[in-house]
Amino acid sequence: MTMNRDKPDDIPRAEQAVAALVALAREAFSGEQPGGSEAAGLVAFESAVARRTLRRRAGALPWLVGMGAVATVMVLSVLTFHDRPRPITFSVVNGTVSNGGYVRANVSGGTALHFSDGSSLALDPGAGARVGDFDTHGGRVLLESGGARIHVNPRPRANWTVDAGPYSVHVIGTEFDIRWATSDEVLDLHLLKGAIVVRGPLARDGISMEAGAHLFANVRKGEIRLDGQPSTSMVGESAMDPGAGATAAREAPPTANLNPGTNASVAGAGGDGSGAEVAVAGAAGVAGSSVGAGAHATRPSSAATTPRRRLMALASSRGATQDTAWGTRLGHGDFQGVLSDAERRGLDNVFATASATDLTVLADAARFARRGEVARAALLAERSRFPGSLQGREAAFFLGGLSEDESGEAALEAALDWYECYLRESPHGGFVRPVLGRKMVLVQKLRGSAAARPIAAEYLQRFSDGPYAASARKLLEVH
């Protein structure tokens, strides 16, 4: 054994014994221990760094409350400075808040914080945020996980800061959607109104964003992208709809928001599907640059097309009823776990007895796990057992996508039938925009451009800035 020794020389045998024990200890604690605590600790450390100012503020509160003398001073202060501007306060709707200002959104959605200055924060289901550092001009919001829509009421000297992971957004008066995926280290930010400055990794000096801009940052890959594509998928949604993120993810073309790894076949509209990029090519093949340039620029890593984001949105929005276990597993990407569980119970039994939400989650898991036959059966069960329900009607959209997975003209005809079925049943449904776009593409393929033009016109009339708008315009321009 080689080691440095600073010891007496008269006890060599005992020295060797201790040396052996030291070597044993070195060997036992040489590398990372099982469980990956070092990696997990990084997340905690970064959160702690971001939180430290908030924690300092929260930590002082119990002392203030506990000291009677200070309470007296506070009473006097209130009496003396009655007319002075007061720090911002807030109320929480449909969520829980702890002493430290930590707000956890309900899984059922609808969680919102209303601040006394007129600003608001709508959290996606399951999201967590910490609020604090309030003064008369603003406060600080730390989005720990999930997505949120933030509206800051523009006022003179308004000063709000929103932290998401290592990123910090300085806000004066604006509205934006923000999502931070802790596990993927991905920030996705759509600015709807106003202007903001984002600081963080790769943006040390700050990135200024204006209304309509979209920022996507992947810290792990060291990648940050800013594009000028108006965030059409968000703008159309209700400003305070906590499920807006999920809706936005769904509204992307179905070729882009389906199976991770199988979207190549879903992108069959292009004929040679090979991933999300092909989904663009598929549409573009019809009529040139169909998808907005910004969307194209961010597509390879855009969160809008990232399966995980969609999964998390689905898990939080769909799995929020009876079988939250399936919803949670879906959100964590454990598709096989959901499928195995269903198979253990008996698929036929599940199709016959499961709730509409469970069937939806099962169908999603099956699609993501490339088990098309199970997905189709689950979706058909939704339609037959819950006709007229939201899930039953939405199943038509997904059945259309599954049909597009298959090859041959008959499959495309079937997909078209499902899309028309959806439009008939849900003329104002959440998937109308992608369905109309897909219908346009399929009709052009199957029946020619002339047949597709009326659909293109309708699409432009209803969704002039939608993802298929460029294709539709091209179709009409050629005419």
Binding site: M3, A19, S289, A297
Partner: protein, 217 residues
């Protein structure tokens, strides 16, 4: 701002290179921390977490959850790095904070054992999994021996003999002069030998374990 701005199909696209502090010098990382670079805490963790975790585990022995202590170390580094006069000395700075944290924890453990003597049996329950039973037992006994040494001497022992730091590094991390470091190390080494010799279980393990017999020959 670093990066390239270009027009792509009518959109403003900003592509930034994968700037990272992971491969930077310690001095650069220290400067980034002082400047408040948001990327710096991550780089700090990635660079020094293996060392900090290893030191804590070696100093405290089996059965101790070191995650919280590691958080304490890194938050302390983050908070106090502004006081670092020589950015090149970041590693030594991290080591010294780890030593201080370890020392504090050892003192806490000592007080806990003093108040509640039965608490020390925890070490044997969560022993390291990849050692054989005898080795686990020996390791636990060895840390029981180390528990009888004061916190400062114990951290000196760990830094010098387990971490293999030079005398100068040990002294710097512990805030001691070279002479004092040598003197203390000599004293603690002799004490450990004495305690090991007096421990019947350790003596038995060291004479019956073939590997140890080989090493003694």
């Amino acid at each position: 701002m670093r990066g390239v701005m270009r027009e792509e199909r009518g959109a403003r696209v900003l592509l930034l290179p994968g700037a990272t502090l992971d491969g930077s010098e310690d001095a650069d990382l220290a400067r980034a921390l002082i400047a408040g670079d948001p990327l710096a805490p991550r780089a700090l963790w990635r660079r020094f977490a293996p060392m900090v975790f290893r030191m804590l585990r070696r100093a405290l022995g089996p059965g101790h959850d070191v995650e919280d202590l590691a958080q304490e170390v890194f938050l302390c580094v983050f908070e106090k790095v502004r006081n670092l006069r020589e950015p090149k000395a970041l590693k030594a700075f991290v080591i010294s904070i780890t030593v201080l944290t370890t020392r504090g924890e050892l003192r806490r453990l000592w007080v806990r054992r003093w108040i509640r003597p039965s608490g020390k049996s925890d070490a044997t329950n969560k022993a390291v999994v990849h050692l054989d039973t005898d080795a686990r037992e020996a390791l636990s006994r060895f840390y029981v021996v180390l528990d009888r040494i004061n916190a400062q001497d114990r951290t000196l022992f760990v830094l010098r003999f387990m971490e293999g730091l030079s005398l100068l590094e040990v002294g710097a991390a512990s805030g001691l002069s070279l002479a004092t470091t040598k003197r203390r190390l000599s004293r603690v080494w002799a004490k450990v030998i004495l305690l090991v010799e007096r421990d019947p279980l350790l003596g038995d393990y060291l004479t019956t374990n073939p590997r140890n017999r080989d090493s003694e020959q």
